[in-house]
Amino acid sequence: MSASTPSLLKRITPQLMILAVVLGLNLLVFPDFLDVSFRNGRIFGNLVDVFNRGAPVALLCIGMTLVIATRGIDLSVGAVMAIAGATAASLVTEGHGWGTALIGALATGALCGLWNGLLVAVLRIQPIVATLVLMVAGRGIAQLITEGTILTFNNEGLIRLGAGTVLGIPTPIVLWLGLGTLATLAVRRTALGMLIEAIGVNEASSRLAGINSRVLLICVYLASGLCAALAGVIVAADIKGADANNAGLWLELDAILAVVIGGNSLLGGRFSIVASLLGALIIQSVNSVILLSGMPPEFNLVIKALLILAILVIQSPKIGHLIYMLRASGPESLPERQRPSTTPREDAP
């Protein structure tokens, strides 16, 4: 249950290696990539940007990892970001303090998560369809709050959440690292992680074993909504305005991608939040390569697609197996007969 350090390290080795390679690519297109300086009261540099700009996806993928572990998916997170940002902005423009705004935004996020959770856990609507509803309607709700405009604000407290620093470190970095740690501890230091995995693998069995799968499912979507809300507040604070039209647009796909690059199965079951967070960093590093390379923007998507494809192919269980086989047949190979000849998936009855 609680993964010990060596096994965690083993689990995230592929992600660490890929991250290193992509950061290496950055270094290739921009030699000063790793320079970090202290300017204007904050640490400053491309590497810092990767961590800072990766914050929204990182926050989203904390919740998304949990949702996916239950064999679900949450397409609504982008829209929830917009709603939460709009809520926070409209609260501060109405004269409330930043604390109220933050709580208000988180509460709307929780409400959205609750809605998704109820559709999935109680009405038993398939997650992808259930969350599609909010994905379509949610941005409309956000625009309803801002009335289609970019709702700008000057509340220093709120702005500090997105553009401020804590001890010289940009707040978003602190927030996602903190929440990531908190979530990891919450699922691994308690039995929560195992119970979530169990309902992801076989919900019927889990229910018969006494797991309250309904409540757990709702909680998981709730968590996803909360993470999305926090991401939404950060994005709004970053530009001092709630852009209901564009905040979080298509970010759900990036978050899902991050979870998968983190080596988590879309079919639910075993999961690792740390690996997902590394996945988010990998995606942001890919974006960074694109920005730093100075290529014309029409190549952005092709480059991103090819890099991601390469990453996924390398991670594919089949390729991993092939590498294992090649290594096994090397000089210090195992005796012929001990070679596994099937990947686990094939062996499912």
Binding site: R39, G45, Q143, G148, I150, D243, L291, G294, P297
Partner: protein, 296 residues
């Protein structure tokens, strides 16, 4: 009876677009016109569907803000067939001009050119390394405003676009991309920023500030649209110029329509709106207050 006019709007992807919708509604209301509004959510197919829907409903006229220039022949023919006049807003289409009554648009290339010429004048012969924030890749404002700007600076010696990347017309992408420009080029090596819309410029201003530089002084900033926040930025000295794209396309359009429907007066095929340049010389604070309520 009252006039019923269908309005096929692209969507609500930006503050400017929202303002255009608001102004159009206001203008229609002023004239006692029943406006049927259809939001296409950035999709041409939805706009075509909307126009066909308007035709089926038998509206008296159609306002169309086309998302893209191509692909309208067929549906415009159907409208012509049903004898419903169509007026284009803020962009023309690649179709025979018999298929629409008139087009009320600004000249996107011209806007870019004004921005370029302003910068060339401002630099007065000094060299300048420019970074460019493009609009959404493939959108016609992005293409035309880039083209116009390049024409505008073509004559000036030493003006050079060193980096150009898309900021998707959004504030947050504008900020993100500007951050990478600042690092890739070094803030002190950038002399000016040209953004295809004000939203990206406003995002970039924040990136510049966070990098410890003074927007408007260390880096000159020119953008297009003249949304309220840009006026505010100019008033605060954080931005240098913006070129107005008026959200009031519907006013002239509806005037032309009413005249046509009343006695068949044919308007000119192209009603060009003014592309007014705003700089620190104007009273931006006043303009800001004036525009604030328009739903930008």
């Amino acid at each position: 009876a009252d006039l019923t006019v269908g309005f096929s709007q692209i969507g609500s992807e930006s503050g400017w677009r929202a303002a255009e919708t608001t102004v159009t509604r206001q203008e229609a209301e002023k004239r006692g016109i029943d406006l049927k509004f259809a939001d296409a959510q950035q999709k041409q197919e939805n706009q075509i569907k909307a126009i066909r829907g308007f035709i089926a409903q038998g509206v008296d006229a159609i306002l169309l803000a086309p998302v893209v220039a191509t692909g309208w022949d067929e549906v415009l023919e159907e409208a012509a067939d049903a004898e419903i006049p169509v007026v284009l807003l803020d962009r023309t289409v690649d179709a025979s001009d018999e298929l629409y009554l008139t087009a009320v648009t600004s000249d996107l290339v011209h806007e870019g050119r004004v921005a370029g010429q302003w910068l060339a004048e401002e630099m007065a012969g000094q060299p300048c390394r420019i970074v460019e924030l493009q609009g959404t890749t493939g959108s016609s404002p992005a293409i035309d405003r880039k083209k116009g700007f390049e024409e505008g600076i073509a004559g000036a010696e030493g003006l050079e676009i060193v980096r150009s990347q898309t900021g998707d017309f959004t504030r947050s992408q504008g900020k993100v991309v500007m951050e990478s420009f600042l690092k890739a080029e070094g803030g002190e090596n950038i002399c000016a920023l040209y953004a295809h819309n004000d939203d990206m410029a406003v995002g970039a201003i924040q990136a510049i500030k966070e990098a410890g530089l003074k927007p408007g002084e260390d880096i000159r900033i020119v953008a297009i649209d003249a949304v309220p926040d840009a006026h505010l930025a100019i008033a605060n000295g954080e931005m240098n110029a913006t070129i107005e794209l008026t959200p009031n396309m519907a006013g002239p359009a509806l005037d032309a329509l009413e005249a046509y429907l009343a006695d068949g007066t044919m308007p000119a095929k192209w009603i060009q709106t003014e592309s007014k340049l705003y700089t620190a010389a104007d009273d931006n604070q006043a303009v800001y207050e004036e525009k604030k309520g328009l739903g930008y």
